[in-house]
Symmetry: none
Subunit: 209 residues, 4 copies
Amino acid sequence: MQTKECADAASHEPSGGLRAAQREFTRRRFVEAAVTVFAEKGYVETTIDDILRRAGASKATFYVYYDNKANLLLDALAPYRCEYAVLVRQFQQLVEPTLADFESWISDYVDLYSEHRLLLGAMHQAEVFEPEFRGRTIEAVRNYIDMWDKIKLIETSKEPRDLLELRCVLLYSQIQRFMYVWQLEGLEIDRSSAVCEIAAAWYRIIKSA
Amino acid sequence: MQTKECADAASHEPSGGLRAAQREFTRRRFVEAAVTVFAEKGYVETTIDDILRRAGASKATFYVYYDNKANLLLDALAPYRCEYAVLVRQFQQLVEPTLADFESWISDYVDLYSEHRLLLGAMHQAEVFEPEFRGRTIEAVRNYIDMWDKIKLIETSKEPRDLLELRCVLLYSQIQRFMYVWQLEGLEIDRSSAVCEIAAAWYRIIKSA
Amino acid sequence: MQTKECADAASHEPSGGLRAAQREFTRRRFVEAAVTVFAEKGYVETTIDDILRRAGASKATFYVYYDNKANLLLDALAPYRCEYAVLVRQFQQLVEPTLADFESWISDYVDLYSEHRLLLGAMHQAEVFEPEFRGRTIEAVRNYIDMWDKIKLIETSKEPRDLLELRCVLLYSQIQRFMYVWQLEGLEIDRSSAVCEIAAAWYRIIKSA
Amino acid sequence: MQTKECADAASHEPSGGLRAAQREFTRRRFVEAAVTVFAEKGYVETTIDDILRRAGASKATFYVYYDNKANLLLDALAPYRCEYAVLVRQFQQLVEPTLADFESWISDYVDLYSEHRLLLGAMHQAEVFEPEFRGRTIEAVRNYIDMWDKIKLIETSKEPRDLLELRCVLLYSQIQRFMYVWQLEGLEIDRSSAVCEIAAAWYRIIKSA
DNA sequence: TATGAATGAGTCTTCATTCAT
DNA sequence: GATGAATGAAGACTCATTCAT
């Protein structure tokens, strides 16, 4: 699902010479090592040394590239964030979305999530105790409300804005935790039913508005 | 809201002699210290030493009572867990619940959650990286499904069981994350609207069934 | 030359029980190890590990007792500082000091300095780059001026106070650096001549006043 | 105060071609950067990287020019050392110096010192823990004695040579430490009084001889 | 000549846990 | 039952220095 516009986010595609390529190569090794080790041991239990060992690099080299583990995770997340941003933009371009539109969008989102699930698991852990990551939740909620806001459904509604925002928060909460329980805690879920049910809930917000 | 049947969970009320009372006294000091410090610094940042200092106890004493920090948290959570269990039982005794029933129940749950919010925050952190706590999520989900199961709505429904379970998971996800975002991340929410909206969603599951 | 009143500074004499004695014992081991290693490698080159190895203690133990190397040095210097303070008090009690008084005092000071010379060497190094030690020089100068001030020679003099203070600074500078060059750089010096010459310079300050 | 004969010491004036000029240019950049950074952070706290960053040069380039930080400091000190050497020669040419001669010389020395004070501060730090710099003190003392020796006052004196040397050491100690306390520790001192007092002490050595 | 990527070797610091008293 | 001295083990981070380009 790697879209063209996110290739750069993934790779910091070296524009220039050999040096740049070399640098990019190393950076990518760190990212790959991190992804692997985070997947194995989770973010918390992973030490910088673990990543180093996997990447076959030395401690000092790590600090040339990153300030700390959180930093590296952020870098590793870049592709996901970019692709998610693309999805958000697509959502915002929906005009009078149908149930099918929502199903299709959610399906894409599920794909994206499951593609990056282990990294997202690491991110959830980081959110708990990396200062850099804490407080992102609120931001994410606002982003989500924003996403709905842009499709002009909120402001044109007869319902009070506060109520609509509350519903957004509830939808956000639902999908977030659900994805986590499903993709990361391994609860068995029937994919298409899930997409349908969530889409239905999303659609209801429009109908009621 | 401390119900009578949970007093014991909170205190391990000493049945017996002086020794037991003394022991109970010390245990309670640890729990109180833990609650305070977890509230201040969060579970992750809190060291056993922090708790000790607050409790005015010594290192070794701690290990007489608990194996580790997670253990102590579990102990501190006992009152919450007990009261939550009471709530669950009340839910299961609902017969043909009305919207008002759900609103009332959810309202009680919100009370319970907010009463223990800081401790629950600690718990969320612990879930991320304490082996003892990991995997509790699935269990919690199953419990939740069970709760609904007992009110006989699932099994008497015409809808396939899988779908009803899925809806439970979605409701569970929704309220869990919502409570977290509201109570712990500090998102401003209108309480009564929230209760109404959630209750409505819960009620819908019955109607549709 | 260990005076009675400084025994405590040296040892933190345990007033109490076994525990206190044990603690004091360990602390003293650290101090002794530090003195030895500082003498061997100088303060700068000495790592905490070096001291640990010599003391036969573990890293963690060190941090139970001290926050850092500078802290330990400060502790090790306590006896010297105490004895120096005694000397200062003796100086201040001189009434109409004679040349012989100065000679005697300086001689004592030389004894004290040479008794602690290696530790004082470490201190000089620490003054260069331990924040805790930086800025002590000015303080030491003021102390020295104070010492002269107390013998009432400054204030009763016809000379302006500023000039007398300047002379004090010059005397301070002279003896400080001289002791360093002699005792720590190993320049060969005839002790009694040195004492005489310095005393003469000190005496001149009174005469001229 | 840059005398003509020291211009070379400052610049290693390129005699030859373009290459040499280029080389000299880079070297000077390092020196300037070093002076600035040493002044800001002191010698100890300054890392080679700091200097590099300031000079806008790269790691490897540094090692083309210098072996280490101490080396660079030595290079940066060249102008000072040269000018000091000039002063020393002037001193040695004094014939039957008067009090005014000494005052004038000391005044020049104060100028020189304060012009280079921050670099001299760096040097004092380096003396503490750079092998290259350690042991320079003794050498400096001997140089100072030598300076007095050359004016033939020592050898023609009736006093024993040892005593005269001792007095030199005391004068050396005095002015060294005094300059440090004054110029680098920031003790407030009246310049002309200081010059007078020191000169008086120097003059006394002649009189007594 | 100039560079910057890579590193070895080291240092400080923290914390949960044990054991003799 | 309570204590606090001691520690093992690990982790984060820094810096001078080298080497291929």
